[in-house]
C-alpha cells in the first residue's frame, strides 16, 4: 500500500532500477490482432526456450532483480497490425514482423545473445531492409504520445507503468495542483473530446464541478462501435493504467468518488486488462480511500455493454449502466447536469482520458504546441481497408489525409488507385481524391461535410462500389438504431430499402430524390447523434459519386463490378468451342447449347456465381 507521495516515489525508484537490469527486452505484441496470429504461443515459446537454455529471463519486474536478465513481456498493440505478430527487441529497437513460434530459437541465438538483426524477419519495402522500428516509414511519420507505451512496456504491469513515469501526473494533480488548477490546465490545453464530438474536455469538467449536487460520477466511454475502429480497444489493452490515471485526475478535479468504464463485451481482452489494472491500482492504494494519504477517494467499476452501437451515445450509455434499455433520451438535462443515476457526470472517451496525464504532466502550453490551435494534440486512427499498412497509428491533429494514407499507410494495396476514404464510421462521410490534402482536425473535416468521429479510416480503392458502401453503412445504422424516434427507426429502414433496390438493379431515378429527402428529414429531426448522422454516408456518396448511382439506376450497371446482381455474364460466340463443360458445371442449369456450337446463358436463371468463368478453358466466358 502506498500511503503517501514518498511511497510512490520509492516504488518508482525500485522498479526503475529493476527495469534497468533487463539488458535485453523482448516485447511481444499482445493486442487482439497479434494474439489471433499466435502471439501467445510465441511468448510461451520464448519463456520455455530461455528457461530450458538457462537464460535468466524475467516475465515480470522483480522488486529485487537479478543482476542481469532478459525481460520477456506481453505488450500492448504495436500498431503495425498488417505485419503481426510483432516482436520488438530492445535495446536495439529491432522490429520483427510475422513472427512464428519456430523463429524464437533463432531470435534467441542471433539477436538476444549476439545482438544481430535477423534480416528475414525485419520489414522490407522496395528492396530496403528496415531493421529498427523507428526507421520504418509506418512509424517514422507518426507521433506516438497517447500510444507511447503501447508496444513499449508490459501492458499488464502497474510496476512497469510506474517505472516509466506512470502516475506522475496523478501525483502532480494531487499534491501540486488545486481542483481549479487541474480544470484550468485542461481547459487551457483545449483538449477536445476524442469520441467524435470534439467538445472541450476542460469545459465539460468545469460544468460538472459547478453543479451543486455533491455526488458526481466519472464515466469512461469504451463502447467503441464503428466498423473498422479499434483505437480505444488498443489503449485499453495496451496501456490501461494511463486511462485510469486520466479518470482519476478527472475525478479529483470534479469531486467524483466513483467512476465507471463502459466497455463493450466484444472486447474481452480489454476487459481483462482493465480488471487487472484496477485490482493492481487498488492493491497499491491508488484507487480506494485516501489515495496516497490525501482526502481523495475514488473507485472504478467496469460495466460490460451488450454490443449496441447506440450505447456509445451518452444518455443511452448511462441508461445501460443503470440497467435500463440503452436508448438516448431528450436533452436537457445534459449529462453534465444529470447523467449517470441522474447525477452530474463527466463522460469522456478512452482516448480523451488517456490524453489527460500528458496535459497535466507537461502542461497546457506544451500540449498546444502539437497540432493546430483549435484542435491541439494528437489523434489515434485505425487504418483499414484497401491500404498497404493497416494498423493503429497516431499523428498530430492537422496531418493531411495524404500523409496518413500514402506515407504512413504505404499507399493503396496492390498499387490500385485511391478512390475514397470513409472517415468517422457510419456517422461520417466519404472524402475523395480532391480532399486528400485536407488537414485531419475537428473543424476542417466538419467544414468538408465529414467528421473525425472516433478515428476509424476505411480506405477504398478503385474497385469499390460507392453505392454498396453507402448500403453497407446504412445497413449498419439501421441494425443499430435503437428504434425510439420515428425518423431514425422508419427513415433508415426506408433508405436501406431503396439502396438495396438500387444495388440489385431495381432502382428508379426518383429514388435519388427520395433518398435525399429522407436524409434531410432524418438529419434534421432525429433525436440523437446516431440518427442525425445516419444518412451522412449516403449523402456524401451521392454528392461525390452521383454518376455511380445513376449507372446502377439507369444503365443497370455497377461500374466497379462489385454488385452481384448487376453482373452480366456472357459467352463469347467466337471463343466458345461448345465443349459443354460450363453447362455441366452450372449449378442452376442456366447454360444450354449443342455440342460444338456456341452455348448461351439464360440471364433469368443465372445467379452470377462465376463457376463457368473459372471453368472455361477457352476464356470464352466474361463478366461485365
Amino acid at each position: 500500500m502506498l500511503s503517501n507521495r514518498a511511497d510512490l516515489a520509492e516504488l518508482r525508484k525500485i522498479y526503475q532500477k529493476s527495469i534497468q537490469t533487463q539488458k535485453v527486452k523482448v516485447l511481444i505484441c499482445a493486442g487482439t490482432g497479434c494474439i489471433a496470429g499466435g502471439a501467445k504461443d510465441i511468448y510461451e515459446e520464448f519463456v520455455r526456450l530461455m528457461q530450458e537454455q538457462g537464460i535468466v529471463c524475467s516475465v515480470s519486474l522483480e522488486k529485487e532483480p537479478h543482476d542481469e536478465s532478459v525481460g520477456v513481456k506481453q505488450s500492448g498493440c504495436h500498431g503495425f497490425c498488417e505485419m503481426g505478430p510483432l516482436v520488438r527487441i530492445e535495446p536495439w529497437g529491432y522490429l520483427y514482423i510475422k513472427v512464428k513460434a519456430e523463429d524464437c530459437q533463432e531470435i534467441i541465438d542471433t539477436t538476444i545473445k549476439a545482438g544481430e538483426c535477423i534480416e528475414r524477419l525485419a520489414y522490407h519495402k522496395d528492396g530496403k531492409v528496415y531493421k529498427a522500428q523507428d526507421e520504418i516509414p509506418f512509424y517514422e511519420k507518426q507521433t506516438r504520445l497517447v500510444l507511447e507505451h503501447c508496444g513499449q512496456i508490459d501492458a499488464t504491469s502497474l510496476e512497469e507503468y510506474v517505472a516509466v513515469g506512470g502516475y506522475e501526473a496523478l501525483e502532480k494533480a494531487l499534491f501540486e495542483m488545486s481542483d481549479e488548477d487541474i480544470i484550468r490546465e485542461v481547459e487551457t490545453s483545449n483538449l477536445r473530446g476524442r469520441g467524435g464530438g470534439g467538445y472541450p474536455a476542460g469545459r465539460k469538467w468545469a460544468q460538472v464541478k459547478g453543479q451543486s449536487e455533491p455526488t458526481k460520477y466519472v464515466v469512461c466511454n469504451g463502447d467503441e462501435g464503428d466498423p473498422g475502429a479499434f483505437m480505444d480497444r488498443s489503449i485499453m489493452e495496451g496501456d490501461p493504467h494511463r486511462m485510469l490515471e486520466g479518470m482519476m485526475i478527472a475525478a479529483r478535479a470534479c469531486g467524483a468518488e466513483e467512476g465507471y468504464i463502459y466497455v463493450r463485451a466484444e472486447y474481452p481482452l480489454a476487459i481483462s486488462r482493465l480488471v487487472k489494472a484496477i485490482s493492481q491500482a487498488k492493491s497499491y492504494g491508488l484507487l480506494g480511500n485516501n489515495i496516497l494519504g490525501t482526502n481523495f477517494n475514488f473507485d472504478i467499476k467496469i460495466n460490460k455493454g451488450a454490443g449496441a452501437f447506440v450505447c456509445g451515445e451518452g444518455s443511452a450509455l448511462t441508461a445501460s449502466i443503470e440497467g435500463r434499455r440503452g436508448m438516448p433520451r431528450v436533452k436537457p438535462p445534459r449529462t453534465v447536469e444529470q447523467g449517470l443515476f441522474e447525477k452530474p457526470t463527466v463522460l469522456n472517451n478512452v482516448e480523451t482520458f488517456a490524453n489527460v496525464p500528458l496535459v497535466i504532466l507537461n502542461g497546457a502550453q506544451w500540449y498546444k504546441t502539437i497540432g493546430p490551435e483549435n484542435s491541439p494534440g494528437t489523434k489515434a486512427f485505425a487504418l483499414t481497408g484497401n491500404i498497404e499498412n493497416t494498423g493503429l497509428i497516431e499523428v498530430p491533429m492537422g496531418t493531411t489525409l495524404r500523409e496518413v494514407i500514402f506515407d504512413i499507410g504505404g499507399g493503396m494495396r496492390g498499387g490500385e488507385g485511391f478512390k475514397a476514404v470513409q472517415i468517422g464510421g457510419p456517422s461520417g462521410g466519404c472524402l475523395t481524391k480532391e480532399q486528400l490534402d485536407l488537414p485531419l482536425d475537428f473543424d476542417s473535416l466538419k467544414k468538408a461535410g465529414a467528421m473525425i468521429g472516433s478515428g476509424g479510416l476505411v480506405v477504398m480503392d478503385d474497385h469499390t462500389c460507392m453505392v454498396e458502401v453507402a448500403r453497407f453503412f446504412m445497413n449498419f445504422t439501421q441494425n443499430e438504431s435503437c428504434g425510439k424516434c420515428v425518423p431514425c427507426r422508419e427513415g433508415t429502414k426506408r433508405m436501406l430499402e431503396i439502396l438495396e433496390r438500387i444495388v440489385s438493379g431495381e432502382g428508379e431515378i426518383e429514388d435519388l430524390d427520395k433518398l435525399i429527402e429522407l436524409a434531410d428529414t432524418i438529419s434534421s429531426t432525429a433525436l440523437c447523434g446516431l440518427g442525425k448522422t445516419a444518412a451522412f454516408p449516403v449523402v456524401s456518396t451521392i454528392k461525390n459519386f452521383r454518376e455511380e448511382y445513376e449507372a446502377h439506376i439507369i444503365d443497370k450497371r455497377c461500374p466497379s463490378k462489385t454488385c452481384q446482381k448487376l453482373k452480366q455474364i456472357t459467352i463469347d460466340a467466337v471463343l466458345c468451342k461448345g465443349c459443354t463443360k460450363c453447362s455441366r458445371l452450372c449449378p442452376v442449369g442456366a447454360i444450354s447449347g449443342k455440342v460444338k456450337e456456341t452455348f448461351v446463358i439464360d440471364k433469368s436463371k443465372c445467379i452470377k456465381c462465376g463457376a463457368c468463368i473459372e471453368a472455361c478453358a477457352f476464356k470464352a466466358i466474361r463478366e461485365d
Partner: protein, 562 residues
C-alpha cells in the same frame, strides 16, 4: 407576470413557468401535432412531429426545449411542413391502414394528423407484418399492426401506474411493445386499468368491446336485461354526445338505455350506499379490535389486482366489501331470483378493469356471474349512436324502483376522495349540514394523486389517506411499510383522479377530468339525501332482502387471501 417573453411565429408570448416551448406554443393558440407528449408523463421526444425551427435554421423538438427569454421559433415553415409530412408518411407506411374497420376510426390521432397534413399518398411499401391480435385480456385488446411505438402506453403503465406490464423489446425497425417474455396480456401482470388504451393515439390498444353481446341479449325476448350505471358515467358521457363535459346527464342516459331496450335501469350509487355502510362497519370493527395497519378500500378492481400481484401480504388489510357494482349485482340477482325470465345484469362503467372484475370466480354463483357484462361509457356512446338516438332530444327519465333512490354520498364515489368522504359522513359524530360542508375542506377533495386528512373520531384523530394512480399508491405503501406514515384508512383508486378518469371514459385531459369530478360534487349538493344510511332503499334492503345474507351477498374473500 414573469416579464420574460419569447417569439412564437413573430408573436411575443410570455413565459410563465412552462417546462417546454410546446406548452407555450399551445398557449399561443397553435395546436402543434404530437403523438408522444402528455403533460402527466415524462417527456419522451420520439415522434419528432412537434419540431420547430429556430432563428438560425436549427430544428428542435419543442417538447424537450426549455423556453428562454428572447428565444425565437417558427412552427410552420416549409421545412417543418416537409418534415412533418415525411414523418407521418413513414409512420403510415408501417401501419395497418384499414381505417374503416378500426375501433379508433374517427378518434385516431394518426388518422386525424394524416388528414390535417393532407397525406394523400404513401410512397413506401407497407412492410407491416401481420401480427395476431391479443384478445386474451378481459379489459383491453392489442393490435400491434397499429402500433406507432410512441411509448405512451409504456410510460403510463410504468410511471403513473407502476405496473410495468409492457415495455419495449428489440431494436430499430424490429422494435415492439411487449409484455415480459412475450406472454399474452392475460398472463402478464396487467391490472386491467386500461390507461394504456386511454393514451394510445391509434388503435394499437383499445378497450375490449362487448356491445355485440349486449345487443344479442337485448333482442332476446326470453331475457330481462337490467343495467346499472356507475356515478362517473353520467359526467363523462355528455361531451361525446353534444353536451357539456362534466354535466350530469343521468336522466338522458336512463332514457337512452330504455330506448335501446333495457328493461330496468338502476344507479350504481345505490350499491355505493351499501358499500359505505358495510365498509364503515368493517372499519369501525377494525378500530375497535385495534387491528394493525390501515383498512384499504376495495372498490377499485385494478387496485385489488395490483395488491394481489404485488402485496399479497396486505390483502388482509383490504376491505372484504365487494365493490359497489358487485354488491348491487348480487342484490339485483337476488331480487330477480324468482323471475320467470333469465335476468342479465349489465354494468355501465367508466372502467375497463370492471370487465375483468365481473369475470372473477369470486363473483360467480354456480358459474353464473352476478354481473353478466360490463360495458364502458365509450361502448354506451357507441350503442346510443348505433341506435340513432339524438341524445340532445331525449327526455330525461328516472331510474327504476325499487332501487330508485340514492344518496349524494353514493354519487361522489366516482371521484377520488369520494369513498372516503362518504365513510366520514357516516362516522361523523355531528351530523349537521355545516359539519358536512366542512368535511369537504378537510383535504379529501381535489384531483391531486395523494391527499391526507385527519378526522376527529371519539377521543382520537383518524389518519386518512386518499391516493389515486397506482404509483402514488405504491409510494404510500412503501411509506407505511417503513413506518414513515401511519394511517387508519386508505382509499385507493387506480386511475389518477378516480373513476371519472377511468379508461372506459372518453379521453380527457387533466382539467376536463376535474370538471367531471365537479359535476359529481354538484349532484351531491343537489341531493336531498346526503348520507348513505339515510337512504330508505338501503334500510329496507337490510330489513328485507339482505336479512341474514349480508355476508354472502356483500362481502368477498379473494382467492389467495388469508
Amino acid at each position: 407576470m414573469s416579464g420574460a417573453f419569447m417569439l412564437i411565429d413573430n408573436i411575443p408570448v410570455e413565459i410563465q413557468g412552462e417546462k417546454n416551448i410546446l406548452e407555450l406554443i399551445r398557449k399561443a393558440g397553435i395546436d402543434l401535432p404530437t403523438f408522444c407528449y402528455y403533460s402527466e408523463l415524462s417527456v419522451y421526444g420520439a415522434c419528432r412531429l412537434c419540431v420547430v425551427e429556430n432563428k438560425w435554421g436549427g430544428i428542435e423538438a419543442s417538447c424537450s426545449t426549455v423556453p428562454k427569454a428572447g428565444m425565437e421559433v417558427h412552427t410552420n415553415t416549409p421545412r417543418l411542413r416537409k418534415y412533418r409530412k415525411m414523418i407521418l408518411e413513414l409512420i403510415l407506411a408501417n401501419h395497418c391502414r384499414d381505417c374503416t374497420t378500426c375501433d379508433k376510426n374517427g378518434t385516431c390521432k394518426l388518422q386525424e394528423l394524416a388528414m390535417r397534413f393532407g397525406i394523400k399518398e404513401v410512397r413506401f411499401e407497407n412492410a407491416k407484418k401481420a401480427i395476431p391480435l391479443d384478445k386474451s385480456s378481459s379489459s383491453i385488446v392489442r393490435d400491434e399492426s397499429k402500433c406507432i411505438l410512441c411509448g405512451d402506453c409504456v410510460r403510463m403503465c410504468d410511471e403513473v401506474q407502476n405496473v410495468g406490464a409492457i415495455d419495449f423489446a428489440y431494436r430499430g425497425s424490429e422494435m415492439r411493445i411487449s409484455t415480459a417474455f412475450h406472454k399474452c396480456m392475460a398472463e402478464s401482470n396487467c391490472v386491467g386499468c386500461g390507461q394504456c388504451a386511454a393514451v394510445c393515439p391509434t388503435g394499437a390498444i383499445t378497450v375490449k368491446n362487448d356491445t355485440a353481446k349486449i345487443w344479442d341479449e337485448l333482442s332476446n325476448p326470453e331475457v330481462k336485461v337490467v343495467a346499472q350505471i356507475a356515478p362517473a358515467v353520467r359526467v363523462g358521457i355528455g361531451e361525446a354526445l353534444g353536451q357539456t363535459n362534466g354535466t350530469n346527464v343521468m336522466g338522458k342516459i336512463v332514457a337512452a338505455l330504455k330506448r335501446i331496450g333495457f328493461n330496468e335501469v338502476f344507479d350504481t350509487s345505490t350499491g355505493a350506499d351499501l358499500t359505505v355502510l358495510e365498509e364503515t362497519n368493517e372499519f369501525l370493527k377494525r378500530l375497535e379490535q385495534g387491528k394493525e395497519g390501515p383498512l384499504f378500500t376495495s372498490c377499485c378492481p385494478a387496485w385489488v389486482k395490483y395488491a394481489e400481484n404485488n402485496y399479497p401480504e396486505l390483502m388482509g388489510n383490504v376491505s372484504t366489501c365487494r365493490s359497489p357494482m358487485q354488491m348491487f349485482g348480487s342484490v339485483l340477482k337476488e331480487h330477480y331470483s324468482h323471475s320467470n325470465k333469465k335476468v342479465v345484469v349489465v354494468g355501465v362503467m367508466p372502467c375497463t378493469a370492471k370487465k375483468a372484475e365481473a369475470e372473477r370466480d369470486e363473483f360467480k354463483e354456480e358459474g353464473i356471474p352476478y354481473i353478466d357484462y360490463v360495458i364502458t361509457t365509450q361502448e354506451l356512446i357507441q350503442m346510443i349512436k348505433e341506435a340513432g338516438l339524438v341524445f340532445d332530444e331525449l327526455e330525461q327519465e328516472a331510474v327504476d324502483m325499487p332501487f330508485g333512490v340514492n344518496s349524494g354520498a353514493g354519487v361522489i364515489f366516482g371521484v377520488t376522495g369520494g369513498v372516503t368522504e362518504a365513510v366520514i359522513r357516516r362516522i361523523a359524530d355531528d351530523k349537521s349540514i355545516n359539519t358536512l360542508r366542512a368535511l369537504a375542506f378537510k383535504g379529501v377533495r381535489g384531483m391531486q394523486g395523494v391527499k391526507e386528512a385527519s378526522i376527529p373520531f371519539g377521543d382520537k384523530m383518524l389518519q386518512i389517506a386518499v391516493v389515486s394512480g397506482l404509483k402514488n399508491a405504491d409510494d404510500l405503501i412503501q411509506k407505511i411499510k417503513n413506518g414513515e406514515k401511519q394511517y387508519d384508512f386508505v382509499e385507493v383508486m387506480a386511475c389518477l383522479g378516480g373513476c371519472v378518469s377511468g379508461a372506459g371514459q372518453p379521453f380527457a385531459k387533466g382539467d376536463e377530468k376535474a370538471k367531471r369530478g365537479q359535476g359529481l360534487y354538484d349532484t351531491d349538493r343537489m341531493s336531498s339525501i346526503k348520507r348513505s344510511e339515510e337512504n330508505p332503499v338501503i334500510m329496507s334492503l337490510y330489513s328485507g332482502l339482505l336479512k341474514g345474507k349480508v355476508h354472502q351477498l356483500l362481502h368477498v374473500k379473494y382467492a389467495g387471501k388469508e
